[in-house]
Symmetry: C2
Subunit: 136 residues, 2 copies
DNA sequence: ATATATGATACTATTTTAGTATCATTTGTC
DNA sequence: GACAAATGATACTAAAATAGTATCATATAT
């Protein structure tokens, strides 16, 4: 089982890279070479990050991508949500109707605690902290 | 995204139920009715738990399943591992070769911490604690 | 002997993941 | 204005994981 898929993984790597040169506009082609990620796949990933407001894009010649926000405001959990939806440990935590008695089920209660804790931890990790330019 | 699949979920429910009557031998048919889980699917799940040494089975007439161990020795993480393999937050934590520089990558290091913490938490949850017959 | 149970395992359908391909649009440069 | 270089949008495909079903073999209580 995996918590983080390729989309998210590649997105994080790209964001980390871009955070090293916040002013620069970088093309997909460059990033693809630099990070060794298939270009068409990376392209779609960057487009989604753009649509989500994490990146800003510039169309046309001399165009490309750069961060839309400061690296320390981009949390790992936000990136996960963009590509994988909200982090949910089990179905019944997302959709309580599928659970017979979510209010009394001890598994439900315990997993909810763990999920909250995990989310908090993933909020604590930012692009800045990953590129070594922010708090450790 | 989901951390816990149906197999694991159903397995936990079955184990919780069985822990309420540790002496009794219960058939798949009974459990299937009681927990409202499709019988053939539940059956395969119980067989895997048997093979893994979590349940003990009795073949033939009057046969069925019961816990092979005390409820407080069956950890949630063990059940997850049986059905989903070892809990791994990202590919490069399972298979460091796929990672360019796992020793220096900050994401790798942070995710490893989180994974260890999560595993510890899932070890703390036992079948006993879920059926309310052990420590809360 | 037979009905009732599990053991083992092969099969199928659906969903998710991982990636490709393509046409449309924008924009800097000549 | 033409053109090349870039992203926007979106449809498509292949492989893997998930969620089951089906079936034949074997053991056992009555």
């Amino acid at each position: 089982m995996k918590l983080i898929t390729k989309d998210t993984d590649y997105a994080i790597r790209a964001l980390s890279y871009l955070s090293l040169y916040p002013e620069r506009i970088v093309t997909v082609a460059q990033l693809s070479r630099e990070l060794d990620i298939p270009q068409p796949f990376l392209r779609r990933i960057l487009q989604r990050l753009s649509a989500a407001g994490v990146l800003r894009s510039q169309k046309g010649k001399q165009g490309g991508f750069r961060l839309a926000r400061l690296p320390d405001t981009i949390q790992l959990q936000e990136v996960i949500r963009i590509f994988q939806g909200p982090l949910t440990l089990m179905e019944c935590l997302k959709n309580p109707k599928t659970c017979v008695n979510s209010s009394t089920c001890p598994l439900h209660r315990k997993m909810k605690e763990i999920q909250q804790d995990l989310r908090k931890k993933l909020d604590g990790i930012t692009v800045a902290s990953l590129s070594g330019k922010g708090a450790a």
